[in-house]
């Protein structure tokens, strides 16, 4: 697996490097001597160098002899692509129980598909530096529907709305992709939203997709008012177009095995790019998921039979799904919420401890997420975006941590409110002194 860089490649790479430096001002960075998991067809290296030029990976090789503006000594460290959170509410939620700081969920009598939370996104959220310091460089941000409070009993909204993708550098222009995916609820949550039965949630999604098709074929007439009255708003039907055109993934919540199979049926009927979120009982229908090429986003550490829809929850779900050929992404643990999406690596570590092959564990929190949602990042190879983490040790190990995080080739600060508070109170004592420590 450990690749040897052949000499010819090194020459080519040096040539390219020469050209690149001739045309760009950006810092070149050489990450030297780390154990590198590229999570690409380049495989893994016990010790290799990663050269970053202009925010991109230029080359990965052994003992590269190139001049760089900055050299990061990664000997004894582990180098991987940055972690990508497959489902998060980063920038939409600051404090869970402070509703004024939450913009992730709305209520209303629309089916919900047109809701776009993008204007609510706050790149200065404290959650962003914290999760970046945990190794997360990119995330998909989804709206949600609160299953508590006002929205329950509103039997219309089974779509949460449109997701977007961010990089975690905290800049105002850190949204990297809009309309990355749509989210909908089937299964128990869907039933709760749709008025009492999961079958009703299914019917509502199906009806909306059928009407979206009708709209696609008769757009002009419908817009002129020269058609029957539609049950859904134009905005909602427009938002569903990329789904029925097969251009945008539809993330659907479902845990019970039978719910997953119905979701696959729906995907077949409308040629959807289906992604299952949850899939607690995914292992029971792993072959069907694999055959339909439906990837899953799972909470790999949650093995509780917490509802009658997840009686089959188990720690080797990721291992069994992967073995069957399903593409698996691992999310942060639901119990720690969006605030700790970086803990997807602990979940992946547990999945590996339960039989998931090691590199599949790494892919589940990076490369597979990029693949499922069509994002940049998640692997290291020439031309790939240089989201790179240098870890103190095995990234799936609970005693390891990021020592360097690059996003698009730029070294990131790893200071967070957590480290600031720590440093202020390392030795708590009587007096006013703490107020003057920054």
């Amino acid at each position: 697996m450990n690749g040897l860089l052949n000499k010819k490649l090194l020459v080519i790479c040096t040539l390219i490097f020469g050209l690149a430096t001739g045309t760009a001002q950006a810092e070149t960075i050489l990450i030297k001597g780390g154990k590198v998991h590229t999570l690409s067809d380049r495989g893994s290296f016990e010790s290799a160098d990663v050269l970053v030029v202009d925010g991109r990976v230029q080359e990965i090789g052994l003992d590269m002899n190139v001049r760089a503006d900055r050299v990061i000594d990664a000997r004894g460290k582990v180098v991987t692509p940055g972690v990508i959170a497959p489902v998060s509410e980063l920038g939409l939620v600051e404090i869970g129980a402070a509703s004024a700081t939450n913009d992730n969920a709305v209520t209303g009598d629309s089916i919900g598909s047109s809701f776009d939370p993008l204007p609510a996104y706050n790149p200065k959220s404290t959650l962003i530096p914290f999760n970046r310091a945990g190794g997360v460089t990119r995330a998909v941000v989804f709206p949600g529907i609160s299953l508590w409070g006002d929205s329950v009993g509103d039997p219309q909204r089974v779509f949460a709305g449109r997701g977007f993708a961010i990089k975690l550098n905290g800049d105002f222009d850190s949204v990297v992709a809009r309309d990355v995916a749509q989210k909908a609820y089937l299964g128990e949550a869907g039933g709760q939203l749709a008025g009492g039965s999961r079958a009703s949630a299914y019917a509502k999604i199906k009806n909306a997709l059928e009407e979206a098709r009708e709209y696609r074929s008769n757009r002009a007439s419908i817009r002129r008012g020269d058609w029957r009255e539609m049950n859904h708003s134009i905005a909602d039907l427009e938002a569903l177009q990329p789904l029925i055109d097969g251009e945008q993934p539809l993330l659907v919540t479902a845990d019970r095995a039978s719910d997953i199979l119905w979701a696959i049926e729906l995907a077949k009927e409308f040629s959807l790019q289906l992604v299952i979120a949850g899939a607690a009982e995914g292992w029971m229908v792993a072959d069907q998921l694999a055959a339909a090429k439906v990837p899953v986003v799972i909470d790999a550490i949650n093995n509780l039979p917490l509802s009658f829809s997840s009686l089959g929850a188990r720690l080797d779900n990721a291992a069994l799904l992967t073995k069957a050929g399903v593409t698996v992404a691992i999310s942060g643990p639901e119990y720690a919420s969006t605030h700790n999406v970086y803990l997807s690596r602990q979940s992946a570590g547990n999945a590996v401890a339960s039989g998931l092959p090691y590199e599949d564990g790494l892919k589940a929190i990076s490369a597979n997420v990029a693949q499922i949602f069509g994002l940049e990042g998640g692997s290291l190879k020439p031309g790939a975006v240089a989201d790179v983490v240098v870890w103190s040790g095995d990234p799936l190990e609970v005693t390891s941590y990021p020592e360097q995080v690059l996003i698009e080739g730029e070294p990131q600060s790893l200071v967070t409110r957590s480290t600031r508070l720590r440093d202020r109170y390392l030795k708590p004592e009587q007096g006013h002194g703490f107020g003057y420590k920054y």
Partner: protein, 471 residues
């Protein structure tokens, strides 16, 4: 890591040993008091029927031991006999008929103790009809007992056992100023909760600071609706409890008409008397400081602040007042009072020589407390502290035992203690290590290699597949 206060320790020991007749922490000791009137805790109303007969001695050979007393012993043998830790040393001889466990490459710790759990009271599946953890009908429900809600068939108990948890405290929820009594359980299958009750363990009283009570009751238009309303609620209750206690003491000393029993007051008077330990849900540093002053005002001791996301800000005060803090490794942000989180919380509290520990408050977290401790240990090391596995293991064993008043019985690998022991596949502070074998009072209650030694609750039988197993 650090020693618990002598006074507190003595008080707890007294509670444990006599279970009947007790003096308050630091109070004057009157021998020969009338036990009947003094037993506010009613320790024997639902007596423990827990019993464990060790079927055979166990010899674990050549393992790495984390003792829970601050030591790491390499290549050491551990002998369990008659339910107790009998011997620790090198080259121990296996008694006849002993179960011999090859400990090569394995690590051994005391059984994990979770001081904050709701298993059985908030069981899985979490359907409405089984949400029995919070009596949200009045801000003071000191009269309710968590054990009366425990569904012993909650499948989460067995999952926690597979994570090495041998003892756990089941607490009422945090909606109320006084949520009710806790109960400490041994993690064994039981047809009734009494079969699980840790024999002789003192009761706890759940109290809650901050956002939850004021939100729940303020939202109903009743007191408390502010933090100052919370404090008024605590103090009013302690005034009433002091009067109640005095009334019974007078009756005890002077005779006369027997006062009327009041379940709520009994629990509070039990706290004032030192029989019942206070477990206080409290996030903010300021609030912990206020609670410690309330304890002084009314003459009781707080055992432990739970969640304590800001414990690091007042770690010196915790040490001074001999109050423990039970914390998470990294949870934050779900409420404003949980916003000022640092991952070094446990380490800072520990280094200030206060009694620090991990807790789960989660049926997932309870299965991975070793990983949670590993994260907290790493955060401490990154803060510049010298904290090693031999130190950090105390956060999930000995210190929670102290918080629960059972540290004389369990929580460390010491001769004569209950043989509550976990054999790990490797260093317990690795994500890849698993509890291979879990012993409770010397009995093999969980064996990863033997399906026949893995308990399943009634609920799980035939639930996913009429003939097969759920897991």
């Amino acid at each position: 890591m650090q020693q618990h206060s002598r006074t507190f320790g003595r008080c707890i020991a007294a509670v444990f040993c006599t279970a009947l007749l007790l003096s308050g922490c630091g109070g004057d000791e009157k021998a020969g008091a009338d036990k009947k009137s003094k037993d506010f805790a009613r320790q024997d109303a639902f007596p423990s029927t827990y019993s464990m007969t060790q079927s055979q001695p166990v010899l674990i050979q050549g393992a790495t031991l984390l003792t829970g007393t601050g030591e790491q012993l390499e290549n050491t043998d551990l002998l369990l006999k008659e339910g107790k830790i009998a011997k620790i040393g090198e080259g121990l001889k296996a008694p006849k008929d002993a179960l011999v466990v090859d400990g090569k490459g394995k690590w051994v710790t005391p059984g994990i103790i979770d001081v904050h759990s709701h298993l059985g009271d908030y069981p899985a599946p979490a359907i409405e009809s089984s949400q029995d953890g919070n009596e949200m009908t009045a801000p003071n429900t000191a009269e309710v007992w968590a054990e009366h809600s425990v569904w012993t068939q909650d499948p989460q108990f067995a999952l926690a056992l597979a994570g090495g948890v041998t003892t756990l405290q089941i607490l009422p929820g945090s909606a109320n100023l006084f949520g009710g009594r806790s109960v400490t359980l041994k993690n064994v299958p039981g047809r009734r909760v009494q079969d699980m009750k840790f024999p002789g363990a003192p009761y706890g009283l759940k109290m809650a600071c901050g956002e939850n009570p004021k939100r729940v009751y303020g939202g109903k238009g009743t007191a408390p609706s502010t933090r100052m309303g919370n404090v008024a609620g605590y103090r009013s209750a302690w005034i009433a409890a002091s009067e109640y206690k005095e009334k019974w003491e007078k009756y005890r000393d002077n005779g006369g008409d027997e006062p009327e029993r009041d379940l709520q007051m009994e629990t509070l008077a039990g706290v004032l008397d030192g029989e019942i330990l206070v477990h206080n849900h409290c996030y903010r540093g300021e609030e912990m400081a206020i609670m410690m002053d309330i304890a002084k005002e009314f003459g009781f001791q707080i055992s432990t602040f739970h969640h304590a996301v800001e414990a690091y800000k007042v770690a010196d005060l915790l040490a001074e007042n001999n109050v423990c803090a039970a914390m998470w490794a990294d949870w934050w942000g779900f409420k404003h009072e949980a916003f000022d989180m640092t991952e070094a919380n446990i380490a800072i509290v520990d280094q200030a020589e206060a009694c620090a520990m991990i807790h789960s408050d989660s049926a997932v977290g309870i299965q991975h407390l070793n990983e949670e401790v590993a994260k907290a240990m790493t955060a401490g090391q990154r803060a510049g502290f010298d904290i090693q596995p031999k130190d950090a293991v105390v956060w999930m064993t000995m210190n929670p035992a102290k918080a629960l008043g059972i540290d004389e019985q369990t929580g460390s690998l010491e001769k004569g203690k209950m043989a509550d022991v976990v054999v790990w596949s490797g260093n317990p502070f690795s994500v890849y290590s698993k509890a291979d074998k879990v012993f409770i009072d010397g009995e093999l209650m969980y064996d990863r290699a033997d399906k026949a030694r893995q308990p399943h609750s009634d609920f799980e039988l035939g639930i996913l597949d009429a003939e097969g197993e759920r897991l």
